[in-house]
Point group: C2
Chain length 208, copies 2
């Protein structure tokens, strides 16, 4: 769509700002802006305030680097969570994904990225100092590495393993294999190869 | 994704606000919010300011109802536009779409909707008063109806036609037919039927 054709500079500005967001093109941006324009003023103010407030007041948990409203996040400060387990993830999105499974009740540690030489992210850019400190204190029994199943994730796994291997802590990696619902026919060779190599004992959970 | 799992109320608010937008689900909202969070504070302030400013300061052109920064929009106040033609459209999006074709140099009139009894929008809810006033002044030679090719659009076309038929103005409807690039095989019967009924004289524009 031709930008010059915008009859209003204010509209153009708002559309431009929206189209800076990832995955939002000019047409979608216009649709979103026109939607907001149809809402009552309070709704629009509430929308933009929620974003500015988040940006200005957001804190990062001193324990796990996750986004938090307080110095220590609600997960780290929850006495019912198992503090002997730490799950290392790339971003807060992964924390939310794992939380949604309701299968994990330990703590997290958000790296904020993985080692990626192609993008200039070296081992020094990955903040694992706090993780090592926590392990040194001796309360942690298990570190679960839950990074992406990519070359970068693997490299980072190895780097973290090397750094914490000296401490009496068990290090595990989340299982990789054929995803639930996937056809073997369409599974790539690396995944399938690893799934066979890392096969587990068949155990039926159906008790009749 | 489980909402309860958000470790931060501020984050949850921002995600909630984003997911109120049409076509934006919880996951996309989270992705957009985390993207904004990674931007410098000025960028985020600029984003939310662009939206609030638009909402608070937006004006609607007194001539055509389009969004404008001034009392009269840049199209209506442009002396080079052909004021004898008025193109009636549903929304400002349509103005931008037609402007992008660079084929039309007349003025517009934005209805803000079409008659839609299913959604409780009757003829009284469609603001055509200003359009009738302009035609009454006698400067308008042609009214081009460019509403959606739907039952509601047709009904509205008919309603407008009835209201302005008494004036010496020619009323036309944008052509409906097989879209450029479409296979006849996959064109619906109504479109194809109308395309045959409204066939035009074959004229070659290739001059060798």
């Amino acid at each position: 769509m031709n930008i010059q054709s915008f009859p209003s500079k204010l509209l153009e500005n708002a559309v431009d700002e929206f189209s800076k967001l990832p995955g939002i093109g000019k047409k979608t941006a216009l649709r979103l802006v026109l939607h907001l324009l149809r809402q009552p003023t309070e709704e629009v103010t509430q929308f933009s305030k929620a974003i500015t407030t988040l940006k200005l007041e957001v804190k990062y948990c001193k324990q796990c680097n996750s986004i938090s409203d307080t110095e220590t996040c609600s997960i780290c400060s929850n006495p019912y969570r198992d503090a002997s387990k730490i799950c290392v993830v790339e971003s807060i999105k992964d924390v939310l994904s794992i939380e949604a499974t309701n299968q994990y009740h330990g703590l997290y540690y958000v790296l904020g990225g993985v080692i990626n030489p192609m993008e200039g992210i070296g081992p020094a850019d990955i903040n694992i100092g706090n993780l090592v400190n926590k392990i040194e204190l001796g309360n942690v029994k298990e570190v679960i590495l839950a990074l992406s199943a990519t070359l970068e994730g693997d490299t980072t796994n190895f780097y973290i393993f090397k750094k914490i291997n000296q401490f009496p802590v068990s290090v595990s990696v989340i299982a990789r294999g054929v995803a639930f619902g996937d056809d073997l026919e369409y599974t790539d060779e690396i995944t399938l190869g690893r799934a066979i190599a890392n096969r587990t004992k068949f155990e039926t959970t159906i008790s009749n």
